[in-house]
Amino acid sequence: MEHLLKVENINVYYGAIHAIKDVSFHVDAGEVVTLIGANGAGKSTTLQTISGLLRSRSGGIEFNGESIGRLPPHRIVERGLAQVPEGRRIFLQMSVQENLEMGAFTRRGGVSEEELERVFEQFPRLKERRRQIAGTLSGGEQQMLAIGRALMSRPQLLMLDEPSMGLAPILVEQIFEIIGKLHRSGTTILLVEQNAQMALSVADRAYVMETGRIGLSGTGRELAESDLVKKAYLGG
């Protein structure tokens, strides 16, 4: 079977700094795959390269069998790949509903009420606050809005960049519950996390990144039980 997303030997540079070194991995339809690793390992850089915000100097990225490595970001979104960026990056001065409308920007017909309702079902809080300016939401609500916004494009692959960052433990639990629910409803997810324990608990497969390379890989359970990962990322 063909992989939904195939990343092959990409190399990304920030000026002279070689940030991503020959990284290869894949995501199959229906899977939750996670990239874990320490701060600065290159996880976010990898996601941004897939989204087209950064460019790989060599190697290739294929989505649905089509090469997307040279496409501008807006063309990549059109092909069904949505990213929830690190730090949420919702539009703080726009209303909740407008944020969701922006998420559906690639669908030219405009946004129907059913469309919004589909997201509000997952995130009832957002429905209560649909006319509110997004900057007034709490951190957890903003993260939900960021995820809801990305879902508005009806992506085939949802990429989440550190969704638990900066949230209180109870909200982290909630976000991971949502990820689990999305997974069960058939959404394919690529998850980048520093919270390795939580990430491995929801992931089918995982890759460990270290200083720009992929070291270990395996199923979520294998890695959660691996001594190396335990020692480095799970605190014992």
Binding site: P73, V77, A82, F91, L92, M102, G135, S138, G139
Partner: protein, 290 residues
């Protein structure tokens, strides 16, 4: 009575500033750059409308439409050739380039149309007697134009898909790209709208001044930029408020204090305002949650 007529002159002059300020503020809001060549696009608009009336013998409205068309294309071309390649460069490089484009336009105009002032026939003449006052038709046209443009732009940015995309770009270009918004195209569209407004402002300004030369746009350009900062750069209502207030201050200062000092007073007001309200009168400050 005298005061009232100075006030009306101030409001209509301010309306021209407001229309120019909109161009500055929209481009700043989205491209985060000061397009110092904006004032000179006004001058180009003035020349195109004048020459299409005098040399081509077109009716005034056709001259205005042609000016809008030429300025829109000019704005998009300037952005594409001069600013777009510098998107990733430090903002100082873009600023210097904008100043360069400004001088280029002024000198190109001098080469094409000569350095000496040409006389400009206002698109409308005459005035309307109201009580003991007489309000010139061009003042009325200007104020009405300003209100129409302001309303149209507000509706555009609040209600339409592209308008909302513009607001998204002005907040966070990276996130906007992740929504599938073509940021380059959105910036081009912003320049197109700003430059079309500059053409309209050019026609109105020249109709007030009844003369035109290659440097005509530079002082009103700087004042409109001041108006944009005064009102809160990046804000559309701020451009209106800043423009109109600036026009009134200038008109009253000329009438009651000194014609020579009028400009100094205008800029002094800006400095004092910014000391008290660094974001301008309507400048937005949204705290970010971390």
């Amino acid at each position: 009575m005298e005061f009232l007529s100075y006030l009306i002159i101030g409001v209509s002059l301010g309306s021209v500033y407001a229309i120019i300020a909109l161009g500055y503020t929209m481009v700043y809001g989205i491209a985060k750059m000061l397009n110092f060549a904006h004032g000179d696009v006004i001058m180009v608009g003035g020349y195109i409308s004048l020459l299409s009336m005098t040399s081509l013998g077109l009716p005034w409205w056709a001259g205005v439409l042609l000016a809008i068309l030429v300025c829109t294309v000019l704005g998009v071309v300037i952005e594409g050739l001069a600013y777009k390649p510098l998107r990733a460069s430090p903002s100082l490089a873009v600023l210097i380039t904008a100043i360069g484009v400004s001088y280029f336009l002024q000198n190109a105009a001098q080469l094409l149309w000569g350095a000496s002032p040409m006389s400009y026939t206002p698109i409308v003449s005459g005035s309307l007697p109201v009580g003991g006052l007489s309000i010139s038709y061009i003042s009325l046209v200007t104020i009405v134009m300003c209100v129409v443009i302001m309303t149209a732009l507000t509706l555009f940015t609040e209600k339409t898909r592209m308008g909302k995309a513009m607001r998204a770009c002005s907040e966070d270009k990276g996130a906007a790209q992740l929504m599938g918004i073509n940021v380059n195209r959105t910036i081009s569209l912003t320049f197109a709208i700003g430059s079309a407004l500059a053409a309209i402002a050019g026609v109105l300004l020249c109709s007030f001044n009844t003369s035109l030369m290659p440097t005509t746009g530079s002082m009103p350009g700087i004042k409109a930029f001041t108006a944009a900062v005064f009102g809160g750069i990046g804000s559309i209502p701020g451009a209106l408020l800043g423009g109109v207030l600036l026009g009134i201050i200038e008109s009253l200062a000329k009438a009651y204090i000194s014609t020579q000092l009028a400009n100094s007073i205008v800029f002094a007001v800006l400095i004092v305002t910014l000391l008290v309200r660094p974001a301008g009168l309507l400048g937005k400050y949204v705290p970010e949650k971390v």
